[in-house]
Subunit: 341 residues, 2 copies
């Protein structure tokens, strides 16, 4: 007796449809598991991912005063304005695909000079975690809540796939510290050049992270405590966005290292969050590979991007959109009367 | 004394502009050399690649009678019709980007049942090159001419970037034989599973190629002779398209192994053809890596695609288009008053 069709999982049905399309079996390569994953996330054999939105969370980091970035802290605000004005790289990438961007100030250290940047400031930047906790537990919770709220609104507005990005001078330092704790590895394994440090500056960044980890040994115990001590407002908001997207079965396209660490944190709080994630690219930041491995994700692109602001997610989205259209519009062997194998 | 600006090359000027955009230096990774290459090809610091066209050449191969493909030879015609009807994978990828496709029958072995497939048949498939020359020298010339003519028309119609694709049951066998000769390597190094051969069928394919190479030792002497003896109508037409695009300084986005071998042949006839090439992806076909290395090309995507029909070029085009828009629309540090390093 045949199994009733209802007993097949969505993934099985999606793979079966892929195998019926007029193409050699498996010939879409690594895009096929992406399509099957989207089907599983959305609960549709032919997934819909046509209404994307890019959420960019921006905040400053107290640790920037240790000189861990090539850029001055005011660049966070300047780039948030540049992004909102439509003149940053990610603005261009989004506009040319008709993708709306929401830039959310969750903790920029200055007043932002552009009304299109949503003001949801938790504080004027985090504290320097070499000296004290970056955030209070309440602030960390508040930043996570903001991320959740933005995603609830995005879902309400009809968006069906979420792209994530961030801005924050100093945030690869915070993300590396948090990643070292979440992965239980030495900071050297998740350390990178950020926006372009030389060897000497990289060694300094490593010392700063080691100091911070020594200052906060308790961070190992609990993800919420780790976030408050070592994270950042934008990292917490990104994590909140992932948690909320998971509740709505909304696919989340990660960007680089920072969004990856935020997603990793989200999976520590809710393991189901892992299921909605897609990796857009593998960045030049060495810790990114470790984070993606831990999340079980294979990136679509490997272009050595290290720009942030959601740029990798925006470069990968066309592949995801097109893969979805292939699933929806390609004829099957039967439809097209093409001789199968 | 400063060098006058005119003395800088287009590449230098393109890289200088990239370095002024509001992003960390070099942060677009492997897309930056692609942008610089496009600038060099088109002679514009801000290259224009907004009017793409996909040219798909289709033909049959006498060697298919040796059983070197999983698919029956009639599938070439069936897939050409599927592509023209808008229901093949590449039709879907092209339509969803507004990219016109021209499907050109340069030698399908049957009458084609759809008027949208352009009839430019040189013959009803090539001869089986295990027994005799695949084409006469005149036929090879004629197929190259067709490729050139289609590109002249595309340029005349205002297209500014060319995507290439092919259809032809048995054509990885022909392309492997031709690649072995052009690269001077053992066929085992450029042999692959095509649309999905198992180990036994792969060993058979290798024997067939060795037989062909033994039958045509003269093929080593001259690219035109190699094409006639071991090539195919669609491979020759693709090569003609590359040669003509090079004359018009029109960027050419290659697809997989077959288009790569055609481009390699074109560079043997006109070394300048190399300068207009872009590699969209590295396919699952092992010979593809060898061909791209010889052409000095780094592919944008590495997704284990093995579909043909221009699908890899169509998946990569959004990256090329977006990279061009970034160059045109992103603010410089000066424009945006962002604090540079």
């Amino acid at each position: 007796m045949d199994e009733p069709r209802e007993r097949e999982t969505i993934e099985e049905r999606a793979q079966a449809r892929l195998d019926q399309l007029t193409k050699p079996l498996g010939s879409l390569g690594r895009l096929e598991p992406v399509i099957v994953r989207l089907a599983k996330i959305t609960g549709r054999v032919i997934p819909r991912t046509e209404q994307p939105m890019l959420l960019v969370f921006a905040a400053d980091h107290g640790v920037a005063e240790e000189g861990v970035s090539r850029y001055a802290p005011e660049v966070t605000e300047e780039m948030a304005v540049n992004l909102a004005m439509g003149t940053a790289v990610s603005s261009v990438l989004a506009r040319n695909q008709g993708i709306p961007i929401e830039v959310v100030d969750v903790g920029i250290a200055r007043a932002v000079r552009h009304p299109a940047v949503l003001n949801a400031k938790v504080a004027w930047g985090t504290q320097n975690f070499v000296e004290q906790s970056a955030m209070t537990p309440e602030q960390a919770r508040q930043a996570v809540d903001i991320g959740q709220e933005r995603v609830r609104r995005a879902v309400g507005a009809g968006h069906d796939i979420l792209l994530l990005g961030e801005l924050g001078i100093g945030n690869t330092t915070a993300a590396s510290a948090l990643a070292a704790v979440l992965l239980g590895v030495d900071p050297a394994e998740v350390l990178g050049r950020g926006t372009g440090l030389d060897d000497r500056a990289l060694a300094h960044k490593e010392r700063v992270i080691r100091q911070a980890l020594a200052r906060h040994p308790e961070a190992m115990q609990d993800p919420w405590d780790a976030m408050a001590r070592l994270g950042g407002f934008e990292i917490a908001a990104l994590a909140g966005a992932v948690l909320e997207a998971a509740r709505h079965r909304m696919p989340v396209v990660l960007d680089g290292f920072i969004t990856g660490v935020a997603a990793l944190w989200a999976t520590r709080v809710d393991p189901a969050a892992r299921d909605v994630l897609l990796a857009s690219h593998r960045s030049a930041e060495p810790g990114h590979r470790r984070v993606l491995d831990e999340l079980g994700l294979t990136p679509l692109l490997d272009l050595e991007l290290r720009l942030g602001e959601g740029s990798g997610a925006l470069f990968a989205y066309p592949l995801i959109r097109l893969a979805g259209r292939v699933m929806a519009e390609t004829a099957t062997f039967e439809d097209a009367r093409v001789t199968p194998v």
